[in-house]
């Protein structure tokens, strides 16, 4: 099951994503939360805290600064560059390579 959450900034998109992700994880489902926003703060709404959220964002920026040949696969992004949040939600901040700019 793949759920995309979309909307204008500040509309409640991230809160919606976070509550749904953790509610499903509490039931024992494996949940992967992907933060595709240019201003990634899903970690805060999931309860990972400021520091860990910023660490993930900084890592994403580093990945984006690197060259595309060494870009991580989806598995790597989630396994190596993700973080476990409350209730076992696995959070990854999606890099520009996975989430390309249009054109």
């Amino acid at each position: 099951m793949r759920v995309a959450v979309v909307g204008k900034g500040g509309s409640g998109k991230t809160t919606t994503s976070a509550v749904i992700a953790r509610t499903l994880a509490r039931r024992g489902l494996r949940v992967v939360a992907l933060d595709c926003d240019t201003n990634p703060n899903l970690g805060i709404s999931l309860g990972l805290g400021d520091e860990e959220t910023e660490r993930l964002a900084a890592m994403r920026d580093e990945l984006d600064a690197g060259d595309a040949e060494h870009a991580p696969s989806w598995d790597e992004l989630i396994d190596r560059f993700g973080s476990d949040g409350p209730d076992g939600v696995r959070l990854a901040v999606v890099s520009r390579i996975q989430n390309p700019e249009p054109g």
Partner: protein, 132 residues
């Protein structure tokens, strides 16, 4: 992007970038459900309407409109005006959410019983019913 990834049995919740950029780049059938989150303001409803139209064009699965920060009937009417007979989940305006945001904490941790949080938890159940 999302369509090329194998997430196995995991439920994937993708918080897309603000606006409709990521949605324009989703392939057909990349996702099973699109949640269009709007608040009852003209700008937010306009972005939401474009997102809903795109999701329908792309046949991106089940479309659910999440009307957030709804204070009264007139707020809800403004959402219904735009989305007609779409499936709409009404999330009440709730100071507990704003409070959690201000503290940098998860709404589910600080206010699990707040009406907005409970509504979103119920939506999660609807998306993946027990045993599903």
């Amino acid at each position: 992007m999302l369509g090329s990834a194998d997430f196995g049995s995991a439920v994937v919740i993708a918080d897309l970038e603000a606006g409709i950029g990521t949605l324009t780049r989703l392939g057909d059938e990349d996702v099973d459900v699109v949640l269009v989150v709007v608040e009852p303001t003209p700008n937010s409803l306009e972005v939401g309407a474009r997102a809903a139209a795109l999701a329908r064009d792309k046949r991106a699965g089940r479309l659910i409109v999440v009307a957030s920060r709804v204070r009264d009937d007139s707020d809800l009417a403004s959402v219904r005006d735009v989305f007609g007979d779409a499936e709409i989940v009404v999330v009440p305006d709730d100071p507990a959410i704003t409070g959690a945001e201000r503290e940098g904490l998860a709404p589910l941790d600080v206010a699990p019983q707040a009406p907005a949080v409970r509504t979103l938890a119920e939506l999660a159940q609807r998306l993946v019913p027990d045993g599903g």
